[in-house]
């Protein structure tokens, strides 16, 4: 069985514990062997590039170096921002010998060396490409019949795909949801940014961005918004009440990780998937499966 170097990232240890739980459950069910990278560090998210570019790349490179040391070929991140960071740093490492030299000089102090040989994957990619939709479909016990899902890709997941995929109107998430038996909606803002870290630094702007996403989902009569990233999830879910206060709206739309939806469809107990930890209850979604 193929082993993957698993990089959960900081959010999955705190705000997004349910993402971590559901990821591990689903992976196990589908026979995907995720081996957590030992002693990984924060990838710097979006907050590090404003300070020092080289340091930002080095932080990412350290995780890559740790993974390379394990002799695995695929680096898997469930967080889209971590994924994007890893992807870009990795590709620069390959292209730019000078940058690689600088980074390796720093890594040397930590007894590490990076080559840029890892294949950087997002979790959803591993499930769709390596496991395969047919395989997933076979294992489904509780199809999400009639569940109207807004597939929210967010922005960071798509950026590295500019080279090989339609980044403005991708379809892979929709295909996955269909495989789960759900009805995936034509969600116009599926690739629009959720505001990301602006939620900290420019609350007003971020809430505005979140509001558009929520409104579009409501317009399409979505039962749930499915996400692929802890940042998106937190912005859309945790801050719904603040959006309501700001805009005088009444949104109460569940937001779930795609792994949670997969877990439900695969018949894993909701509690094991971290369902119940939301501020906007995910209960209504379960009704479709059971």
């Amino acid at each position: 069985m193929k082993q993957y170097a698993y990089y959960p990232g900081c959010s999955l240890e705190s705000l997004a514990t349910s993402y971590n739980l559901s990821t591990l459950e689903v992976a196990q069910k589908l026979g995907v062997d995720l081996k957590e990278i030992k002693d990984w560090n924060c990838c710097g998210a979006t907050a590090y590039f404003p300070v020092d570019e080289l340091l930002a790349h080095t932080l990412v490179a350290r995780n890559l170096a740790l993974a390379e040391k394990d002799g695995l070929s695929d680096f898997v991140a469930p967080c889209s921002a971590c994924y994007k960071n890893a992807y870009f740093t990795n590709s620069y490492l390959k292209k730019d010998a000078d940058l690689a030299e600088h980074i390796n000089y720093a890594l040397e102090a930590d007894g590490l060396h990076v080559n840029g040989t890892m294949k950087i994957r997002h979790l959803i990619e591993v499930f769709i490409e390596d496991v395969g939709l047919d395989e997933i479909e076979k294992k489904i016990t509780h199809p999400l019949k009639g569940l109207r899902v807004a597939p929210y890709y967010g922005c960071q997941l798509l950026r590295p795909r500019k080279d090989h995929e339609n980044v403005e109107n991708p379809q892979f998430f929709e295909n996955l949801l269909s495989a789960l038996g759900a009805e995936s909606l034509d969600y116009p803002s599926k690739t629009r940014c959720c505001g990301g870290s602006l939620i900290v630094t420019n609350r007003k702007a971020a809430l505005d961005m979140v509001q558009i996403l929520l409104q579009d989902a409501v317009n399409r009569k979505a039962d749930v918004i499915a996400t692929t990233c802890p940042m998106c999830n937190v912005n859309l879910e945790v801050y719904q009440n603040q959006v309501n206060r700001e805009f005088g709206t009444q949104y109460s739309i569940p937001v779930m990780y795609f792994t949670q939806l997969m877990g439900v469809a695969l018949g894993i107990k909701p509690g094991k998937l971290g369902i119940g930890k939301e501020l906007v209850s995910g209960e209504p979604v379960l009704a479709f499966a059971y």
């Binding site: 404003p50 900290v200 505005d208 930890k277």
Partner: protein, 187 residues
Amino acid sequence: MDTELSFNDEIANVMYATHGNPIKDCLQCGTCSGTCPAVEFMDHTPRVIIGLIRAGYKDEVLASNTFWSCASCYHCSVRCPAGIDIADMMYALKRYSMWKGQHQEGLIGPVFSESFVKMIVNSGRSFEPLLAPTYIFKNGPQGLVQEAQTATGLMLKGRMPLLPKKIKGLKKFQNMVRRIIPIGEPS
């Protein structure tokens, strides 16, 4: 020979991995601005910022909140017909303004970035509760109340750990960081 760098070149110089980005190729077409989800909150649109950089309006650029309002969503970069990585340039402007210590008053972005960096250097991981106080007060008393409510809600759901995590090889990690930025000698 004129040895002074143009503002355009200065900015290009802080874009290392993308080799300065072809910001000179900008057509001023406005695709970036039309695309940007945060544009309403910027005092200058991304296109105008590029125009200002090229025209050498350094002070105007540094006084602008544009790059601190950028969410780094890279949507503009994907669409730009001139192949400019605008999002990367926004990062560069952030770096430049931090480096020069010159940015608009009252912005949370610079404070946030700095405290985030400190936190990572100190622990190797990020940790929300530790981070919060540095910026909450900036949102005013109302912001504090809202934040507290949200935080309590999360805590009750087990989504807010009480203690920060640290990585194990922290000493060596910090030595690594030291090779790039000065963070003081090991204690």
